[in-house]
C-alpha cells in the first residue's frame, strides 16, 4: 500500500542517492518513459516548444552519468560533489486507486568542485507511478527560483 510516507521516503532516498553519487541506483528510480525537466520560464507549461535548461529522457541521463566517470571528462577533474537540503515534501496527490502520486519539495542545492561552491534554491516536483511494488519517477521537475539568471556550470542533478 502506497501512503504519503512512502512518497516522502522515496524523495529523501532519491536525494540521498544523488548526494552519495550512486548514479546507477538513482537512474533505476526512473520509469522507462521518465523525464528530468528544468524549465527556463516561470510556471512553464511546455518543455518542447519553450526553452528549458534540461529536458532529458533516460538515454540522455545515461549519457550524463557515463560521462561523469569518463577517462577524458576533463570538467570532472577534479570531480563535482553535491548536497541536497530538503524541506518536508508537500504531498499534492496520493491516490493509489487512480495511480496518481505527486509531491512538491522545497530545496537548497549545493554543488561544489575544487575550491568553488555554488548554491541554488527552488522546488522539485515529482510525478510518480507505481510499477509492481515500487514507485518510479515519471517526471522530476526542477524549478529554480532564479531560473532566469546566468549560471556557471551545473554538472550534477538537483
Amino acid at each position: 500500500m502506497i501512503t504519503e510516507k512512502t512518497i516522502t521516503d522515496f524523495i529523501y532516498r532519491e536525494a540521498d542517492l544523488l548526494d552519495t553519487m550512486q548514479w546507477q541506483a538513482w537512474l533505476d528510480l526512473f520509469h522507462p518513459e521518465g523525464r528530468y525537466w528544468m524549465p527556463l520560464e516561470w510556471q512553464q507549461q511546455d518543455p518542447v516548444l519553450q526553452p528549458s535548461l534540461m529536458y532529458e529522457d533516460l538515454l540522455l541521463m545515461k549519457v550524463r552519468i557515463e560521462r561523469l566517470a569518463g577517462e577524458r571528462t576533463f570538467s570532472q577533474k577534479p570531480k563535482s560533489r553535491c548536497h541536497h537540503l530538503l524541506q518536508a515534501p508537500q504531498i499534492l496527490a496520493c491516490d493509489p486507486a487512480a495511480g496518481i502520486f505527486r509531491a512538491k519539495t522545497s530545496y537548497i542545492y549545493t554543488e561544489t568542485r575544487g575550491d568553488a561552491l555554488e548554491r541554488f534554491s527552488g522546488w522539485a516536483s515529482h510525478d510518480l507511478v507505481r510499477v509492481g511494488d515500487d514507485l518510479k519517477i515519471r517526471l522530476k521537475r526542477i524549478d529554480l527560483v532564479n531560473f532566469d539568471a546566468p549560471f556557471g556550470n551545473i554538472q550534477l542533478f538537483m
Partner: protein, 446 residues
C-alpha cells in the same frame, strides 16, 4: 600600472602574424581599452526587431559594457539610446523587455521622454527658465546612438560617431544572416523567448575563437558527444531511427578529415565561418512538409539553394556567432577581463513546422546552457586557459596552424577547414579596431 595607454604601437605589438601576446586575454588594462576603442569602433549586435513589434516596445541590452535601450517609436522607426536619465543618471528601463506606452518616464523625478528619446516634459518646468538649461545636453533628452542599422530585422549599432559604415564593415558576411532569414517560408524570424544565459569565467575572445576552432571537438567533446554515440550504439536495439538528440551530438565527433574538407571562409574585418562545403548540421533528418513550403515560396531551384547552404559557425566580429542552419545567435558579452556572459538566442522560422523550432531549442540547451555537457567541456578549457596564461614561461599564444607567409589581411578566401586563419583574421581586425582612433594608426606588427 598603465602599460598600453593610447599607444597604438604597443597594442599592435601584441598581435604578431601568427601569435598573440597573452595580455590580450589577461590584462585588465587591455580589457578597458577594448571597451573604450574596440567595441565603440565596431558594429555590435543589439537585438532583433521582432522584440519590438508595437510602438512603445523596448528592449535593454549592452553594447560593449554600455547599457542601452532600443525602442519602437510611434512612427514605426527604431531608436537606440544610452540607458540613463539626463537628469541624474537613473536607468530609464530596468527590464530586459517591455512596453513603455507613449513615453518613457523616469522613476526618480518624472522627467519624461518620447519613444524617440527626445525630452517630452519635466515637472515644475518653470524652475529651469533662465537657468541656461536649454544649452545643456539634458535638454536633448536621452543621449542617442545615431549609427544604428536594422538589417533584415537584426539591429546593429556603432557607438562611435565616426567610423566604418555598416555595409563596408560586414560586406559579404551578411550572407549568413540572409540564409538564416531565407530559411523561413515567410522570409521572417521571430524571437519567442528569453535566451539561455551562461556565465563564463574567461575572456570573451576565447569564446569567439573557439567558434572556428575545428581541431577541438573530437578531443574536448569526446566526453560528451563520444559518450552519446557510445550509449546510443549500445542501447538502440532494433530502432531504425536515430533520435534527434543523437543526431545533434553525434557530428561533434567527426574526424579531422571531415573538418579539413568542409572548409573555412574568411572575410575582411575579422568575420568568417566554418562549414563551407558542408557542416556538422548537414545530415539532420528532413522535417515533413518543410521543403514543400520552401518550394512554394521560393521555387524549386532557390529553395534547394537556400537549404543546401548549411554553414556551421559564422563569427561576426567582434562578439557574436550565428548558426543559420539551426537559427541560433550567441552573444558573447564582455563583463570583465576574465568574465563573459553568453546569451544564446533561438529564432523561430516564421511559418515553418514546429519541429524545426523544437530542434533549435534542443540544440541550444544541449550545447549552450549551463547544464549542457558540451558547454562543460568547453568552459573547462577556457577556464584552464585563463589560469594557464598567467604563467610566465611563454607569453605567446600560438595560432600558426596552416599559416602561409604571404597571407593578406582583410581578404575573402576559402581555405582548409582546420586552419587557424580565421583566428588570425580576428586578431588582425582586433588590432585595427583597437587602434583606429588612436594617434598612430596601428598595424599588426610583422
Amino acid at each position: 600600472m598603465a602599460r598600453y595607454g593610447k599607444d597604438a604601437r604597443a597594442i599592435g605589438g601584441l598581435v604578431r602574424d601568427a601569435e598573440v601576446h597573452r595580455d590580450v586575454y589577461v590584462d585588465p588594462e587591455i580589457f578597458e581599452l577594448e571597451m573604450e576603442h574596440l567595441f565603440p569602433n565596431s558594429w555590435i549586435y543589439v537585438g532583433h526587431a521582432s522584440q519590438l513589434l508595437k510602438p512603445g516596445d523596448f528592449i535593454t541590452a549592452t553594447v560593449g559594457r554600455q547599457p542601452v535601450v532600443a525602442s519602437r517609436h510611434t512612427d514605426g522607426s527604431i531608436h537606440l539610446f544610452y540607458n540613463r536619465c539626463p537628469h541624474k543618471g537613473v536607468k530609464i528601463a530596468s527590464e530586459p523587455c517591455g512596453n513603455t506606452g507613449k513615453f518613457f518616464r523616469c522613476p526618480y523625478h518624472a522627467w519624461s521622454f518620447k519613444t524617440d528619446g527626445s525630452l517630452l516634459a519635466i515637472p515644475l518646468k518653470k524652475g529651469y527658465e533662465g537657468t541656461g538649461f536649454t544649452d545643456t545636453q539634458a535638454n536633448d533628452g536621452l543621449s542617442r546612438i545615431r549609427n544604428v542599422v536594422v538589417y533584415r530585422d537584426f539591429i546593429f549599432a556603432r557607438l562611435s560617431e565616426n567610423g566604418i559604415g555598416f555595409e563596408d564593415y560586414f560586406g559579404e558576411s551578411l550572407s549568413t544572416i540572409d540564409n538564416m532569414v531565407d530559411r523561413s517560408p515567410e522570409g521572417k524570424l521571430a524571437v519567442m523567448a528569453a535566451p539561455i544565459r551562461y556565465m563564463h569565467t574567461c575572456n570573451w575572445k576565447m569564446l569567439v575563437e573557439n567558434q572556428t576552432d575545428t581541431c577541438h571537438p573530437m578531443v574536448a567533446h569526446e566526453s560528451s558527444a563520444g559518450t552519446a554515440i557510445k550509449v546510443w550504439q549500445r542501447e538502440q536495439g532494433d530502432s531504425k531511427e536515430t533520435p534527434m538528440a543523437v543526431q545533434l551530438y553525434g557530428p561533434f565527433m567527426s574526424p579531422y578529415e571531415f573538418y579539413e574538407q568542409s572548409g573555412i571562409r574568411i572575410w575582411p574585418n575579422g568575420h568568417g565561418h566554418t562549414g563551407v562545403a558542408n557542416s556538422i548540421h548537414s545530415n539532420y533528418s528532413d522535417v515533413e512538409g518543410y521543403l514543400d513550403q520552401m518550394i512554394a515560396t521560393y521555387g524549386e531551384k532557390r529553395a534547394h539553394e537556400i537549404l543546401g547552404e548549411v554553414r556551421h559557425n559564422t563569427v561576426y566580429f567582434p562578439n557574436i556567432m550565428v548558426k543559420g542552419a539551426v537559427q541560433i545567435l550567441r552573444n558573447f558579452i564582455p563583463i570583465a577581463v576574465d568574465r563573459t556572459l553568453v546569451e544564446s538566442w533561438v529564432y523561430r522560422l516564421v511559418g515553418a513546422p514546429d519541429k524545426l523550432y523544437e530542434r533549435a531549442l534542443m540544440y541550444n540547451r544541449f550545447i549552450n546552457a549551463p547544464t549542457s555537457i558540451v558547454g562543460h567541456d568547453d568552459l573547462e578549457m577556457y577556464e584552464r586557459a585563463q589560469e594557464g596564461l598567467k604563467t610566465n614561461g611563454n607569453q605567446w599564444v600560438n595560432l600558426r596552424r596552416l599559416y602561409e607567409s604571404d597571407e593578406e589581411p582583410d581578404v575573402t578566401a576559402v581555405i582548409n577547414g582546420t586552419s587557424e586563419r580565421q583566428m588570425r583574421n580576428q586578431f588582425h581586425a582586433w588590432a585595427k579596431f583597437m587602434t583606429m582612433d588612436m594617434d598612430q594608426p596601428g598595424e599588426a606588427a610583422e
